[in-house]
Symmetry: C2
Subunit: 190 residues, 2 copies
């Protein structure tokens, strides 16, 4: 049996990036088109097409049971209308796969929901280790003034289901109102 060799990737703790990682995925506003609740605000910002977040892939291991992959994500500060910048959000294709988030920098919210629309919120500040149990869809949101960066570890065979979120969104929105972070019902939630 040929074994895989151990390896190390350095996470830059100052900014949450992985300079020597396997890949960097850059998500501009256009990549998230239709996900923000305020479509007029989204359209107005599209010409500028800001970078919403970057994913730094540390290791994408073979997609089999027992393997672990890891990445970091940096979400930039900003809003579309009153809604904070966020990641697309997804369920795992294999719904029973968990995920672990570990906050490195800034502050944000891990928004989770079941396919039935039950919502859960975890507050992320540096040092917070948040567990996404099986079957919970999840999205991360930068509610701060600075970059929000976190480390993620997940079973390599978890896979992604983005479609359910793209179609229906989340049942709740995380917005800034009167300078405060609030969770409000998503008016478009079916």
């Amino acid at each position: 049996m040929t074994l895989m060799l151990p390896f190390t990737k350095m996470v830059d703790l100052a900014n949450g990036t992985i300079p020597g990682g396997q890949d960097i995925q850059v998500r501009h506003l256009a990549d998230l088109k239709g996900l923000f609740a305020d479509s007029a605000a989204e359209s107005a910002l599209l010409p500028e097409n800001p970078v919403i977040y970057r994913v730094y892939l540390g290791a994408h291991q073979p997609e089999v049971v027992g393997q672990l992959s890891f990445s970091t994500t940096v979400i930039y500060p900003g809003k579309v209308g009153e809604e904070y910048f966020f990641t697309k959000g997804h369920y795992h294709a294999k719904g029973d796969r968990a995920e672990l988030y570990f906050c490195l920098r800034g502050e944000g919210i891990l928004l989770l929901q079941t396919r039935e629309g039950e919502v859960n919120v975890q507050h992320m500040t540096p040092g917070a280790a948040a567990l996404v149990p099986p079957y919970w869809g999840h999205r991360t949101i930068n509610t701060g003034q600075d970059e929000f960066a976190f480390f993620a570890c997940y079973p390599s065979d978890a896979g992604y289901d983005y479609a359910a979120i793209a179609e229906k969104g989340f049942a709740s929105l995380i917005v800034e109102r009167d300078g405060k972070t609030e969770m409000i019902p998503n008016p478009s939630w079916l």
Copy 2:
């Protein structure tokens, strides 16, 4: 279906502990008796019985495929003879389960080996994310002057096989000689 609820545990980034974790395992020298190569030095230190390391269990999730557990480990600085303080070391009972280590503080070595005695070394400094691929036994070693602390994430069903290490040890020792860290063959390796 009743789903598990998401949750967050705070890791104290200053010292690597998880104050609100599920459990703390304290490993004194007596718990590691027979693992250090210099048995005379080990015996001489046994009356003092220093704490070698503590494991802070953040979450031990159900032992089924897809679940993830996490912990932190703090290894104190020190030596038994010329050998640095280390963790017991283990293989996973389910050999094909990986593990991820993320260094938070101090400096150390992740020593890995296969059951056939092939050895691999990963150097850990803050921000280092080291992947333990399937089938590699692993031990962590504090080669620094300060506490060495790291975060670990692993499949909850990985399990532990401590016996193989307890019987045969590792094929290599990590020692301090003339003020320098060196890897030398283990004279007791069969």
